[in-house]
């Protein structure tokens, strides 16, 4: 057997100096030739450890085998058996912690794992661009299910149930379907046309989507049950942004990452002719180290910031963001201030002129340096302040990306729905809440997590609903 290429085929990308000024997708995707070569690296192991690493258990060696056989549509059929949103997952999954983490090439042979995510994206893109097949609408099974939220968990649950013949209605609070895929993840990482195509695919399967309906306000879950929905799946996400509780967080120019990203993504502030205001240019500080922080930082850069700094209280090793996003951010020139924590946001105040238009706007952020101390209950070393190490970071905009909490709208209007102390909906091993017939999954249950884990939850709930109703 010929020696295997030790490394994954690199992903073709836009040049960092070019992409830092546009919102086009950063990663351009494998060509058919690169995909075919990368597929050759797969050992096609019998025990398929990668499948165990996938939250929706895609038969990874089987789809890669189809690429090797020059049959990308066959590969798509394999993937779509278990995944409803392959073009999305191929782009945003943290593969390094999931399928690729288990790959025998790296575990046993010390090589780079197969580029599973990149191959998945290739297959999904190839299907979207070249396939003429329309999804077949299954025969109705006579059952009616409501899904709350059109993010990754809701769309997955809806898709799986629709494929089984259920009549599925999705209720979305915002004016566009897609949830975090639309309001949160930026265009340069996940083009909105791809999300729209996935949503259209679901509609073709018969899924009905109502936007601008806020469950808990416009309609309650109990009203949905009265209307004849036999089961309800809550996939309303973890919408409520957390703030730090430090002075100055209400100054003009301080955003939650949700607000900043929603203005840019959902409300299209990144387009030149947009009607949505957003602070552009100047110096921007982003607090946090997750994917959302990377997205906010890179969005600010593309909107024209002269300098963008990520402020994170732990070190590079603990950064929770997907590795590729951190690398891309670094290549684009985003500065990382690690082991550093904000203590106060400083505002401009002209003592001589109360009408100075700059009054009330951010001018800087006071930070303190940190070091890593003893491990906390989750085994992560706890950051501790270094006394006397305060310094001032000059900045015009501060974006706070330190996580979100579940939204209380549904809990407050659904009697008997049990939540934990963090506000997450409590479910049993069958994805059912404390109320019979009401299921939940995704961030609404776990608090902020990944797109793929939300999809896994939507999938599990669909299975549980199907078992309960048939």
């Amino acid at each position: 057997m010929a020696a295997r290429e030790p490394n994954k085929h690199p992903m073709p990308t836009q040049e960092p100096s070019v992409r830092a000024h546009n919102f086009d997708e950063v990663a351009l995707g494998y060509t058919a030739e690169i995909a075919a070569e990368e597929a050759q690296r797969c050992l096609n192991c019998k025990n398929k450890p990668c499948v165990q690493g996938c939250p929706v258990n895609i038969d990874i060696p089987a789809f890669i085998a189809q690429i090797r056989n020059n049959n990308p549509e066959g590969a798509y059929d394999v993937i779509s058996k278990t995944s409803s949103l392959p073009a999305v997952c191929g782009r945003v999954c943290p593969q390094e912690n999931q399928c690729e983490h288990e790959c025998t090439l790296s575990v046993k042979l010390g090589l780079e794992p197969v580029g599973i995510g990149r191959l998945e994206r290739f297959v999904a893109d190839n299907h979207r661009l070249n396939s003429k097949t329309v999804p077949v609408r299954p025969a109705p099974n006579g059952h009616k299910v409501a899904v709350i939220g059109s993010g990754p968990s809701g769309l997955t649950c809806a898709g799986d149930l629709a494929k089984l013949g259920y009549s599925v209605t999705v209720f979305e609070a915002l004016h566009t379907a897609g949830g975090v895929l639309v309001y949160g993840i930026p265009e340069f990482r996940l083009p909105k046309s791809i999300v729209a195509a996935e949503v259209e695919e679901l509609k073709a399967l018969g899924v009905e989507i109502f936007t601008n309906v806020i469950i808990g306000k416009t309609l309650t879950i109990d009203e949905l049950l009265e209307q004849g929905y036999e089961a309800v799946f809550i996939g309303s996400g973890a919408g409520l942004p957390n703030f730090m509780g430090i002075p100055g967080e209400s100054l003009c120019g301080v955003y939650s990452a949700n607000e900043f990203l929603t203005r840019s993504n959902l409300m299209k502030a990144y387009l030149n002719d947009s009607r949505t205001p957003i602070m552009k240019g100047g110096k921007v500080a982003v607090v946090g180290g997750g994917n959302v922080a990377m997205d906010a930082a890179r969005t600010a850069l593309r909107l024209g910031a002269e300098k963008v700094t990520i402020v994170y209280r732990r070190s590079l090793e603990e950064l929770p963001a997907r590795k590729e996003e951190v690398e891309h951010a670094q290549e684009e020139g985003i500065e990382f201030r690690l082991l550093c924590n904000p203590t106060e946001i400083l505002g401009y105040k002209n003592p001589d002129d109360p009408r100075d238009p700059k009054n009330g706007f951010v001018k800087g952020m006071r930070c303190i340096k940190m070091e890593l101390g003893e491990p906390d209950e989750r085994g992560r070393r706890r950051p501790v302040e270094i006394p006397g190490s305060d310094f001032e970071l000059e900045t015009d905009t501060v974006i706070i990306a330190i996580g979100t909490s579940p939204n209380p709208l549904i809990k407050d209007t659904t009697q008997g729905l049990e939540v934990n102390r963090r506000g997450g909906i409590v479910i049993d091993e069958n994805c059912m809440t404390s109320r019979n017939g009401i299921y939940a999954g995704g961030d609404a249950v776990t608090g902020a997590a990944t797109v793929i884990s939300a999809m896994g939850a939507g999938k599990a709930a669909a299975k549980a609903i199907h078992t309960a109703l048939t």
Binding site: L174, N212, S250, G360, P408
Partner: protein, 283 residues
């Protein structure tokens, strides 16, 4: 898409629209708001519900034409559709157990003060309505207030309508004359609400202020509408829009309301020119 059933100009800068929205009309309560988008590329504008008709399935909104967004909304006519209309959002005004109240509205805030006044009046509360406008030509809902309150007090800055003065003058006079209110509810410009709250604090009268900060989603997701109330960060969209007026940091709210002033000015001019061109082209 929701149809505009009725459009009425209340004064040169304030428009009323009755919008077809049966689900929202079924649920709406005074104090709550909706989010409207006039066109597919338009901003999401939060507007407090001015009235609703459950049987007709309509919700009435009243808005001041202040910026690009409200100009585009105002360019739509009866029979046409707004792109989207979502709600009812926020918490309803708590009116239970109030025996005597004063409702203090200022300017277009009177559009929101009216449904609360009406609800209080219809439940048997003695309700004194104080409405303030800059001048007579800006007055809205005068008859509605007169017919749905126990007593109505009109005030204008220039004296062209009712008493010359500020709403706080009228309220102070009533309190000093011995009127004892369980609660004062105030809705209007931030600076007016700030002074109403400062006044009632002196007399120890519970006061509720209805806040209308910059907002995007209206469901608790963006945090843009945050306020400091009693030292705590609160979201107007899900925790409000009404808060204890004696606990609100009005200065901070006023500062935050100015975040996009320069952007809004540019937008307004641009839309103004676009609409003028359109009108010119049609004539």
């Amino acid at each position: 898409m929701n149809r505009i059933i009725r459009k009425q100009s209340l004064n040169p800068t304030v428009t009323l629209m009755e919008i077809e929205a049966p689900l929202i009309a079924h649920k709406a309560e005074p104090g709550q708001f909706i989010i409207i988008r006039s066109h597919s590329d338009a901003e999401r504008i939060p507007l407090t519900i001015a009235d609703f008709d459950r049987s007709a399935g309509t919700v009435t909104i009243i808005f001041q034409i202040v910026g690009a967004g409200t100009m585009r909304l105002n360019a739509l006519n009866e029979g046409e559709y707004v792109e989207s209309f979502a709600g009812p959002l926020g918490r309803a005004t708590l009116t239970e157990g109030i025996k005597k109240a004063a409702v203090v509205g200022g300017g277009v805030g009177c559009a929101i003060a009216y449904p609360v006044t009406k609800k209080l009046f219809e439940q048997g509360t003695v309700v004194h309505a104080i409405a303030g406008f800059r001048s007579k030509d800006l007055v809205i809902l005068e008859n509605e207030f007169r017919t749905h309150s126990s007593a109505f007090y009109a005030v204008s800055d220039d004296g062209s309508w009712g008493e010359k003065g500020l709403v706080t003058d009228a309220l102070k006079k009533l309190i000093e004359s011995g009127e004892q209110y369980d609660e004062v509810i105030t809705i209007g410009p931030l600076i007016m609400m700030k002074f109403v709250c400062a006044l009632t604090k002196q007399y120890g009268i519970k006061t509720i202020a209805s806040m209308n900060p910059i907002m995007i989603d209206g469901t608790g997701m963006c945090g843009g509408c945050r306020l400091t109330v009693g030292g705590q960060t609160r979201f107007a969209c899900v925790d409000g829009p009404e808060f204890d007026g004696h606990e609100i940091d009005f200065d901070e709210a006023m500062s935050r309301s100015r975040a996009y002033v320069s952007f809004e000015k540019r937008e307004r001019e641009e839309i103004c020119n676009l609409l003028k061109m359109k009108e010119g082209g049609n004539s």
